[in-house]
């Protein structure tokens, strides 16, 4: 668990977010763009990552007056919106009338392990937790915001995921 990232989440959004101009809003969300982009890339699954991020930012901008720092961090709020937009983008892509081209999976030939392949065998929630924390680089708290559950649930889900992955990721001589 990345404690450093968790600590960053304590930072509260400025109370003036609701009154921010687009430029000010863009500055406020700047620190979280990397995670938003990573999350979009992991969850949108073939859709345009940057478009998902921009749509999420636009949606967040339109809904900025609804953000309440007392109810959660700015990054968690942004990432949850990003996840929702990523999901919509993915579904729209899946329903297009063109054949789906799966993104190239990561291979680890040096270790004879295929982590990406292995996580596809996890349960959906386990996989979501793994995607958020390990690949998108979210903290436990941010993953909890995306999954709309407690940090404890995230941790237990991750523990279950690692347990389920163990037989697939073990190297055998």
């Amino acid at each position: 668990v990345d404690i450093t990232l968790d600590a960053n989440l304590v930072k509260q959004a400025p109370s003036g977010l609701a009154a921010a101009t687009p430029e000010e809003f863009g500055s406020e969300v700047g620190p979280y763009l990397g995670k938003m982009a990573n999350l979009a890339a992991r969850l949108a699954d073939g859709a345009d990552r940057d478009d998902v991020v921009q749509e999420a930012l636009t949606r967040a901008w339109l809904k900025r007056s609804e953000f309440d720092p007392a109810r959660g961090s700015l990054s968690g709020w942004l990432l949850a919106i990003t996840a929702d937009q990523a999901r919509k983008a993915r579904l729209r892509r899946l329903r297009r009338k063109v054949p789906y081209v799966a993104p190239r999976r990561e291979e680890s030939p040096d270790q004879r392990l295929d982590v990406e392949l292995a996580i596809h065998h996890l349960s959906p929630r386990q996989r979501l937790a793994v995607e958020c924390l390990y690949f998108a680089g979210l903290s436990v708290l941010e993953t909890a915001a995306v999954m709309r559950c407690s940090e404890g649930t995230v941790k237990s889900t991750l523990a279950d995921a690692r347990k389920a992955l163990r037989p697939r990721l073990e190297l055998r001589p």
Partner: protein
């Protein structure tokens, strides 16, 4: 054996490697945010007209006036081009049907004898045969009843020089003018631009009136351009030469007829009420501007004032004095040039438009819900996109089943059940095929599925959704470069709609097995959805791509699919931005349509139809004339209670509509609407598979079936594997 304690480290390393390969995150697109705010809150230019004046209007015209698709000779426009007058007027005085893409005009005025119509607009360079970037325009004007209908269109000149490959026209716009002669003087005041706008030559009827303080007198008034239904602005001030609206000493009162006001300010404040109905208020600490927007009857009203002249309470109190003429006591008389006399005890002109749940049986709030996930989950991703009862009495769910991870093949599944708990799967297609179903229709003639097979459009027919056969189409080449988006059934047959090459297209079949193309040339664009009116006629909606900006398209077809009609112009859904009608639902004898709305520039940057979360709702009683449903609450707005998108599960129910979806609190609920606009939640949130839907998983319900007293919904669990489910709610 690798130590199991290293699994965490292994995942971290894999994640780090993956992140290291990712490109840098994009910078926030501030312009996109601004456009979104504008497109949601303001029709074309409403706010700009209020706040920034004509220069900004022309600038926006520049943005939206981009070259025609596939026509390199079409120039973009800019505000700074040289003034040129196109004297090549339309041949003959009037009654000339437009013969090319329409161009909207900015101003219209009549000569003193009211027989010459003078139009100004922004267009391409004046026509010259040797200039491939020049554009010729013609115009027509026709008096229809009390209205003058005017059109400007581009004239096609086959002999015009052609740009060399790879070359483009400079992004320069030109101020253009056209005059049209009328055979008789036009004595009315209302001008309809067939490109989609209404202008007033003089003060229109049915203007609302305010009870202003005595010294605030009407100083000027004018039509506001770029309005689909017409807008009129009155400026009041204690000063003879007032500053612009929103500045100290000036008050703008804007009225949009049968449409939202499309005005907004800087920082929106919490919702307020005017005469008991929801209103919207903006402040601007920087300059003190106050903007209040509300509804009076079917009209949208707006006040643009300054806090140096009015407090928030005073502004709301002033708004509550607004009356439409037919609601005003005839005594004392009101002069348009004078302040309006107080009418202290007058009541609101119209009752509150607050949502009502009349006619909603209480039992829907108390349904017991259970989730069924088998056989909808499994190694392949699946979703339940539709539900119906077939002629055999089975509940049938349908949706895609696909390998989303690596194979890229897909099939369509039909799951049959007698009770909703036990389901049996029938596949349409074989392993390894790539089949998509975009819609399914069910009638006494059987079940029709439309979609694609290996990227080619296809229609399948089945007597019972058990065994399927491919349908045939006339002519045999009928599926070339075709996509089929939707299908509907009435007593005479099925109508499928979509796109063929670059045009809207439709096919009809009496039996579902043999199809023929119908409708003739429906114009450039795509039909996205189709439904059936109570009298059996079809209504198809989509997007009309025949103009620079894409407008909503709406066609009505006879019950046998043979006769097609569309209004030449549908002002409520036209405008300089793109408006895509994606879904249509019938209810209470009328129709509700969901439109995706975005900036034309954004669409062009997407090189195709961008679909984002800017939504508008339209209603129609006949499928021909559409009216924007309401400004508050509007789909996609921050204060809209029910999130809507193109896959929302909505069905006609009783006198209104029933929906299943997530609200802005991200909780999935049942919703009811009497009018398609105001949605009320019913009962507590639905626990999908026994759990609250996580934030990541909102908008995962696509199908809703009213089955007697119980409801059945279908969707997917919102997870990465696309596992489907149905939920059954019973009393």
């Amino acid at each position: 054996v690798k130590p199991t304690d290293d699994i965490d480290q292994l995942l971290h390393e894999a994640g780090s490697r993956w992140r290291a390969r990712q490109p840098a995150a994009p910078e926030p697109d501030v312009a996109r945010m601004r456009r979104a705010a504008t497109t949601i809150s303001a029709v074309p230019l409403g706010r700009l007209l209020v706040g920034f004046g004509t220069a900004a209007v022309i600038l926006v015209l520049l943005i939206v006036s981009l070259p025609n698709r596939g026509d390199p000779a079409r120039p973009a426009t800019s505000p700074s081009g040289p003034l040129a007058t196109n004297a090549a007027l339309s041949p003959g005085p009037t009654q000339v049907a437009p013969k090319g893409p329409l161009t909207w005009f900015e101003t219209v005025r009549l000569s003193e004898d009211r027989r010459t119509v003078h139009l100004t607009f922004t267009g391409g360079a004046p026509y010259s045969a040797d200039n491939p970037c020049s554009v010729d325009y013609a115009a027509s004007a026709e008096v229809v009843g009390s209205v003058l209908e005017v059109a400007i269109w581009e004239v096609d000149h086959p002999d015009r020089a052609v740009l060399p490959p790879g070359a483009g026209c400079p992004a320069i716009g030109y101020a253009r003018e056209l005059d049209v002669q009328l055979p008789q003087p036009f004595t009315g005041y209302e001008v309809h631009d067939l490109a989609g706008y209404v202008h007033f030559l003089s003060r229109p009827d049915n203007l609302a009136q305010l009870q202003l303080p005595e010294e605030w007198l009407l100083r000027s008034e004018e039509t506001l351009s770029e309005s689909p239904t017409g807008r009129w602005r009155q400026t009041y001030s204690p000063h003879e030469d007032p500053p612009g609206g929103g500045r100290p000493g000036a008050l703008d009162f804007i009225q949009a007829f049968n449409a939202p006001a499309y005005v907004e300010g800087t920082f929106e404040q919490p919702a307020v009420e005017v005469n008991g109905s929801a209103a919207r208020l903006w402040t601007s600490p920087e300059d003190g501007e106050l903007v209040l927007v509300w509804r009076l009857g079917t009209d949208g009203l707006a006040l643009v004032a300054n806090e140096q002249d009015f407090s928030l309470d005073e502004l709301i109190a002033l708004a509550e004095t607004a009356r439409l003429p037919d609601a005003i006591d005839p005594e004392p008389s009101v002069s348009p040039d004078a302040s309006i006399s107080p009418q202290p005890s007058a009541s609101p002109a119209v009752p509150s438009a607050s949502p009502s749940s009349d006619g909603l049986p209480a039992h829907l709030a108390d349904l017991d819900w259970r989730t069924v996930t088998q056989p909808f989950t499994g190694p392949l991703g699946s979703q339940v996109l539709g539900l119906f009862r077939n002629e055999g009495g089975n509940i049938v769910a349908w949706g895609p089943e696909q390998e989303v991870g690596d194979g890229g093949y897909a099939m369509v599944s039909f799951w049959h059940s007698r009770d909703g708990d036990e389901w049996r799967e029938v596949k349409l297609g074989d392993w390894g095929q790539f089949i998509r179903a975009t819609d399914v229709a069910n009638s006494a003639a059987g079940v029709v599925a439309v979609g694609s097979l290996e990227d080619e459009a296809m229609i399948w027919w089945s007597p019972d959704a058990e065994s399927w056969q491919q349908a045939t189409v006339t002519p045999a080449s009928g599926w070339s470069r075709t996509s089929i988006a939707a299908v509907a059934a009435n007593e005479q047959g099925f109508l499928a709609v979509g796109r063929q090459r670059r045009s809207m297209a439709a096919w009809f079949s009496a039996d579902g097995r043999s199809w023929r193309q119908v409708g003739g040339d429906l114009g450039a664009g795509t039909l996205h959805d189709v439904t059936v009116l109570p009298d059996g006629r079809f209504v198809a909606v989509g997007v009309d791509e025949s103009r620079r900006d894409w407008d909503a398209a709406s066609w009505t077809a006879s019950a046998d699919g043979s006769e097609w009609r569309s209004r030449e112009s549908n002002r409520a859904v036209a405008g300089p931005n793109d408006e895509l009608l994606l879904r249509v639902w019938p209810y209470r004898g009328g129709l509700l349509a969901l439109a995706n709305h975005h900036d034309t520039e954004e669409r062009i940057s997407c090189q195709g139809p961008c679909i984002d979360d800017s939504w508008r709702l339209y209603t129609s009683t006949d499928g021909s004339r559409w009216q924007e449903a309401a400004e508050i609450p509007e789909a996609g707005r921050p204060n809209a209670p029910l999130e809507l998108w193109e896959y929302s599960a909505i069905v006609a129910w009783g006198e209104g509509l029933l929906a299943v979806g997530a609200g802005t609190d991200w909780q999935v609920r049942l919703w009811y609407s009497a009018d398609g606009v105001s949605w009320e939640p019913i009962g507590e949130q639905l626990l999908v598979n026994g759990e609250p839907a996580p934030g990541y998983q909102i908008d995962t319900i696509y199908a809703l079936l009213v089955d007697g007293e119980r409801l059945i919904v279908g969707g997917d669990l919102g997870d990465l594997d696309l596992d489907g489910f149905v939920m059954i709610g019973e009393p």
